[in-house]
């Protein structure tokens, strides 16, 4: 078990007056923290509001195998911590708060969090994405008690049990493999007849004797009275409906951008991703965007970090021009 002590800052402000920074970064995942590293090195007074998942999505994954420079892979949480200490090293102020309200209608921009009020001449939005839900009966009822999207958090509770993983992308397949550390059997249910995941994940999953596959099927209901007892499946080719007994359900069917806060202030596309140009500018001058909240396609740590770097460089340029 991973008992390595981790430090995430949970510092809070005593002074509830408005704090002013040149740059405020909303979101503390790979995009936001990389932006903070770049901004810090450019000596731009910068504050990061970490949000509800400090470290971003890597924090809730077991490991990251495709971030360059770590030939043996690196724990998701450790990678997130490293981003953060690097950002701190260059002077960014990092607060464990989530933005609750923004006003981008005039400069300086105003951002409110659960604990304070901030003003900044430039803002980088890097709020990321959250696991998408299925919207099927039983899902809400059992969320947090039999239905989960965090295998590192909850895998332990399924020791020697049978869990179902829904999805066919990288996250689904990688987490299915991770869950075999605990579960006796993992059944991966995918709506298509082949996986979308990167080949290396597929190879590992197919070679794992604990993983079974149910193809071309969707889960229509999560069953159970007090606890999850199974799922009802529909085969999309034959329309046949079947029951599958299971003790837990892990859902990895993709992500949704966390852009609700910005509706009406920033331009969003039809799937609610924040619209960005090639230089990470939004439609509001001085507000930049990076990471998964503007990326419906790739959603990789390295790309989030890359767009974070661009956003910071653009923010620095903007602040130089319009201080």
């Amino acid at each position: 078990m991973d008992f390595e002590p981790k430090i995430a800052p949970l510092k809070r402000e005593e002074d509830k007056e408005t704090e002013t920074y040149e740059l405020l970064i909303i979101g503390g995942g790979p995009a936001g923290l990389t932006a903070a590293i770049y901004a810090g090195r450019a000596r731009v007074p910068t504050c990061v509001l970490l949000g509800t998942l400090p470290g971003g999505q890597p924090s809730s994954t077991a490991g990251v195998d495709n971030f360059p420079g770590f030939p043996d892979g690196i724990g998701g949480a450790e990678l997130a911590e490293r981003f953060q200490s690097q950002a701190e090293r260059f002077g960014a102020r990092i607060l464990s708060e989530a933005a609750t309200e923004v006003d981008f209608s005039e400069r300086p921009f105003t951002i409110k969090s659960s604990r304070g009020r901030y003003q900044a001449e430039a803002v980088i939005v890097a709020t990321g994405a959250a696991p998408r839900r299925l919207g099927i009966p039983g899902e809400d009822k059992f969320y947090g008690r039999g239905v989960s999207s965090c295998a590192t958090c909850d895998g332990f509770f399924y020791r020697d049990k049978h869990v179902v993983v829904i999805g066919g992308g990288d996250s689904a397949v990688d987490e299915a493999i991770f869950l075999t550390k605990f579960a006796e059997k993992v059944t991966l249910i995918h709506r298509r007849d082949e996986l979308r995941a990167t080949k290396i994940y597929q190879e590992k999953a197919f070679a794992n004797p604990k993983i079974e596959f149910v193809w071309s099927s969707v889960v229509e209901e999560i069953l159970g009275d007090q606890t999850v007892t199974g799922v009802r499946l529909r085969n999309v080719k034959t329309e046949e409906s079947t029951m599958l007994a299971a003790d837990g359900v892990f859902i990895y069917i993709g992500m949704e951008p966390k852009s609700d806060l910005f509706a009406g202030q920033l331009e969003l596309d039809r799937q609610n991703y924040i619209v960005s140009d090639r230089h990470q500018h939004t439609n509001v001058p001085g507000v930049f965007v990076a990471g998964d909240v503007q990326d419906p396609y790739y959603r990789q740590v390295v790309i989030a970090a890359g767009t974070g770097a661009i956003a910071a460089m653009e923010a620095e340029r903007y602040l130089g021009k319009y201080p």
Partner: protein, 217 residues
């Protein structure tokens, strides 16, 4: 071998520099140390060595039964974080992994003796006339969990009627079973009410009010 490497020690020192008051970490283990008891004791001792304002007191759950009762300790490993007074802040199971953050936060708020919860929350909690027991179930690998633990600890600090425990689910499987913990964080309020996930302060307050209302009914 130390549990905290040099880098972490430096970070902890920095975070715990200028603690405005002294804090005791009262730790309970036993002669034949339980799973993670030894590590918890070591962790507490290492952390205590990083600030002049911090002390570790180690007790034996069996031999020092009276002290255990005084602090309301019913399972081990246990750590009570005590400042000018006992605010009811407890850790059951090792506060490591992501929960190490919760331990450092508890030390800091206890040293200060005040929280920064919303005024509405503080007013409600300080006027409570019924006891509230919050048990926050966690795993050390859960990045969402410290938020729930820290919030519960802040609530404990705000009222003499509120006790708040971090409970590491893997070390207390019987409690995980009793409270049907299948996912973390899960906050159990007074046995009856529970909250799944790291809920925001207003929602936790609302559920706490519901829990008390249902008891009165």
């Amino acid at each position: 071998m130390p549990l905290l490497n040099d880098e972490v020690r430096e970070q902890v020192k920095e975070q715990l520099a200028d603690l405005p008051g002294s804090v005791r970490m009262v730790m309970f283990t036993q002669e034949f140390e339980c799973q993670y008891c030894a590590e918890t004791r070591q962790l507490v001792e290492e952390v205590a060595s990083l600030s002049d304002q911090l002390d570790a007191e180690i007790y034996d759950f069996v031999a020092d039964e009276e002290t255990a009762q005084e602090y309301g300790i019913d399972k081990i490993p246990a750590v009570a974080v005590i400042g000018d007074e006992d605010y009811g802040i407890r850790f059951y199971g090792i506060p490591s992994g992501y929960e190490f953050t919760s331990l450092l936060e508890a030390i800091q708020i206890v040293a200060k003796g005040e929280t920064e919860l919303a005024e509405e929350t503080q007013t409600y909690l300080s006027n409570l006339d019924q006891p509230v027991h919050m048990q926050v179930f966690v795993t050390p690998t859960c990045p969402y969990c410290p938020q729930a633990v820290v919030l519960a600890h802040h609530m404990a600090l705000s009222s003499p009627m509120v006790r708040a425990d971090m409970v590491e689910a893997q070390e207390f499987p019987h409690l995980s079973t009793k409270y049907q913990v299948m996912g973390v964080p899960r906050t159990v309020i007074n046995e009856s009410t529970h909250i799944e996930g790291a809920a925001a302060e207003p929602m936790v307050l609302e559920r706490l009010q519901e829990a008390l209302a249902s008891e009165e009914a």
